[in-house]
Each structure stands twice: as C-alpha cells, then as structure tokens.
Symmetry: C2
Subunit: 301 residues, 2 copies
C-alpha cells in the first residue's frame, strides 16, 4: 500500500487560518500584527520569496511590509534600518532575507535584530531557548513547521527513532533540538547524520521518522528506508529536465515514488514542507505581537 | 586487555596550568581575571563546591571571591547583586551556585547574568552559540570538559558514532551540540538517548564514544558496550555502602570494572570527568577576561 501523503498545503492553510483568527483578536485589542521584511539587492529568487511573505501577511489580516535596499547598501546602513525597526512598536517581526550581499556580515545582521522580533528564530538567544526547551523563544520556521506537520498528520513521536540528515543551522540542528525535548510532538530518540557520517543507510533504516535536509537531489532511496517509516523531505533541489519548458524541475532529497511505496506517510516536494515555512513565519509574528502586549520576559533581550 | 584509564586529574591539571599561564599574561597587561561565585543558603554540598572553586581560582593566580547570602534572601536582592557584578569591570565571571532556594526562579537568575560573564554557559545566548557552532560563546563546563578529555586522550572523533545517555540542559543537550559541529574534537554522528528511548542497549552498543550522563548508578553494563569503545562517565551517584565509614560510596553511571574489561578507554569515577568541570570554569573565566580586553562582539549581550 503506498504511503499516505502529508499535505503541506492543507496543513499550512490550517495554521494560517488560526493566525488570521489570532490577528483578528489582536486587532480587537488595537494591535495589528506586523512583519517587516528587509531585502538587500535584487536576487530574483529572494524577491520572489519576499513577495510571497508580504502577500501571506496581508491574506492573514496582518501588516506586511518590505524594505528594499540596493545591493550596494553599506552594512552600517542596514544595521541602522534594523535599529529603527527594533524601536518601532508597530513592527512585531523583522526578517532580513538571506543571503545578504558578501560585503555584509550576516551573523552581525541576525544578532542586531531584537530577539523578541526575531521571527526567523536565527538569533543565538532563540537558538538557545530551542536547545534548552524554553517555549518562550522563536523556533526557526522550517523545523517548527515539520514538528507541526508530524502532529497534524497524527504521527506519534514519543519514544520513536528520529533520524535527521543534515546539520544546518536553519534546519538540522534546531530540528534535533525540538525533537529531543520532553513533551508533545517530541520525546524522540534523535540521531543527527551529516557528510562525515559513515554507513548512512544503517542509520536511516532505523528511523521511524526520517527527516531529510541535506540538499542532495533524491539521495534517499527506498533501500535506505524502514518499511512503514514516516518520511519528511525538507529538500528543494533543481535538477535539469529538458522535457520541462523552463529546463529544470524541482525535486526533494527523497526519491519520492520508490520511497512512497515503502513508507507509511511521506511529504511531497513541492507541496510538503515548503508551504509550512511561511505559515510558521506568520505564526511566529502573531506570537511576537501577543508577547509585545504581555511585556518582555527576563533575559529575552 | 583492560581499557586505558583517561586520567581526569592529570588532564584537568594541564588545563589549569594553561589557565595560570594565561592569567599571568593578563596580569602583565594589568588585568587579573576574577570569578565571583554567589552562594545562597548553606547547603553543605554547595558550600563544598563553592570552596573548591574559590581555592582553584587562587591556585591559578586569579581572583576568586564568594558572596554568601542567607537562604531567605529575596529574589530581587539576588538580582540586584548580579546587576552589581555585571557592572563591575573587575569581575569577569559570575556563577550562581545551583540549586537556589525554592522561592527564587533559577531561570530568571541565570538570564540576569551578563552573557559575557556567564562562565557556567547556562544563559540562552551561550546555549544558542553552542548549538549554532559559534565559538565565541561559553560552553557549559562539563560537556566542554568531556570534549577536551577526548582530545587529550587522543580519541579521533570525526565520523565516529557518539551516543549520549541523558538530555539534561547542563550535560546531554550541550554535549550533543558540541559533538555535532564540524571541526576538531567533533564531527560525530550523534544519538541522544533518554528515559523515553526504547531498546537502549541497541543504541549504546553502536557507540564508538559512549557518554553516560543519566544519573543512574552503574546502569551501563558490559553487555551494553561495543568492544573497543571509549566510555565517558559523567555520573556522580551516592550508593549505600555499610563497609564505608561514611555509609556510602560514590559511583558513576557505568559499572566500571566490567566495562573497563571491554572498552578501549574509560574515565573513572571519581577522578574522571569531575575534575574537568572546575578546570573548564577557570578556562572560561580567563577567556572572559581576555574578551573583556577585546571589547564586546555584536549580539553577545
């Protein structure tokens, strides 16, 4: 029996509906949740993502603004923009679209954002809260979205073996930190694999929950997957395809058809994890707005 | 052939000698590295640890002070003491001895400490830096000490399977974060096990490096260990022992004799990881003093 598809579009829509409801409630209290995205330069892919974020904000009844700066913007000028947004009470979430031009230190930029407005969850304070298991921090959107998908798809996580492929700061490491905590949607035995891992297939074959975030097109094949496993594909890779008008197609890190024949549940690419990232960004922004009403907790900044 | 003992006392002495050298160099620049420990209440074990820390500082040529407050100290008063130490340029490291009395919120106390003086490595900013792999943070002393021991004992870590028993904020989680990074003394494939883990022995038997930090006396037995593994015992447990004058003895989480017959290297208890913790505390304090000369990096506070 082929695997059930976990429908990221439908789950993301559910998250966004809840966000819209929460935004409505906040507006009744006089606060319209607002996300400001800063885009430096004119990379077409970045411009596309930024447009999608702005549109999603508006659909959820939130303020979504984009500040577009030329690629030549000096670092100090970008930092000054962040300082202004940090001080602006109408801005609850700040996101600087990555990558920034090479003359700008990305880590410096990320650390300049007020952690209480860091809805991307990349500031060290938020990374630390995710590792410690402190729910008042903002988790990075992609791994947070994966955790929501698992719960919405009815996947029991407690005591299960989760194997994560990839140790990026954006996905792999915070994903491990989320699943290792005690509590709902977590309590997994977690293994983190990466480029130095030996006998990778032996690890993946142990996984009840296999999360691929390694950026290698279709590298997870059926023989690497335990029958009945839940497979989450975080990869978004372009591969050449002459049969397509645009000359390429998008595939995940998982060889979908053959793995779907073996897994119990699987996320497709596209339409799987992808839509969750923006949904969680909105959810983080609404929560930032809620927290701004409640005041700043000790050590948050 | 029985396992080689990894001598924590000797490795800690080496770390402390390096600390004394660095302290000397700082004093030549007019800065004496200083650690201030705050002890609230009169728990005898805590008083013992605090005394050991003060003594170790002095032996390394550093300033070591202890502020002793009554158990009834209000939280606000403790926070005010921390504020004063944060502002004092002669204090480079601040450590509030845990546990604090129940009427005090330990998390609030930890977050009040300036992250640049948080030589215990418990502030979320520092936890986040450890997870991200940013070396300018302070790693918690015990897992940092384990990593140093592995290197000093000549254990190759790259591509090795590290299995960690325990997911505490003080040991298990930051230990995993340290070993998952790329670079020297890391690059392990890491599995984190805990109370919800099923088939624990199957995991431990895969480990090239097995780190027990679960707080269960002698729970790791020989049949759980792969022949030739490196076994690091973080546990310090009291067990009743009528043959001892004091009525108990100290054992680790590992059944030492039988595991030593199977492992390639092993840390004893006592005399293994224990001495490393204070040594790393001194090392963090000297580094805090060095950083205070260099100025505060962006996002450190």
């Amino acid at each position: 029996m082929p695997a059930e598809r976990i429908d990221g579009v439908a789950i993301a829509a559910k998250v966004r509906a809840k966000v819209a409801q929460d935004a409505e409630a906040l507006k009744a209290k006089g606060v319209t949740p607002g996300l400001t995205v800063v885009l430096v330069g004119d990379d077409p892919a970045s411009a596309f993502y930024v447009g999608a974020k702005e549109k999603a904000c508006k659909e959820a009844g939130m303020n979504g603004e984009t500040i577009r700066l030329p690629a030549s913007t000096p670092e100090a000028e970008l930092l000054a923009v962040i300082d202004k947004l940090n001080a602006d009470p109408a801005v609850h979430g700040i996101l600087v679209q990555m990558p920034v031009p090479k003359h700008i230190d990305a880590q410096k930029v990320i650390r300049r954002i007020d952690p209480m407005k860091d809805v991307d969850g990349f500031h060290p304070v938020n990374a630390g809260k995710v590792l410690i298991g402190d729910a008042d921090g903002f988790a990075p959107c992609t791994p947070a979205g994966v955790q929501v998908m698992l719960q919405e798809a009815g996947v029991e996580t407690s005591g299960k073996e989760a194997v994560i492929l990839g140790r990026s700061t954006i996905v792999g490491k915070p994903m491990a930190a989320l699943l290792i905590q005690s509590g709902k949607g977590a309590d997994c035995t977690v293994t983190i694999c990466h480029s130095r891992t030996k006998n990778l297939a032996e690890h993946t074959r142990r996984a009840d929950i296999l999360i691929a975030a390694i950026g290698k097109p279709e590298m997870v094949t059926a023989d690497m997957v335990k029958p009945g496993a839940v497979v989450i594909d975080v990869g978004i890779n372009r591969v050449d395809d002459a049969s397509q008008k645009r000359g390429y197609r998008i595939v995940g890190d998982v060889k979908f058809d053959e793995v779907a024949a073996r897994a119990s549940k699987i996320t497709p690419v596209p339409g799987g994890v992808g839509p969750m990232t923006i949904a969680m960004l909105l959810a983080n922004t609404v929560r930032a707005a809620q927290l701004s009403l409640a005041g700043t907790p000790e050590g948050a900044r």
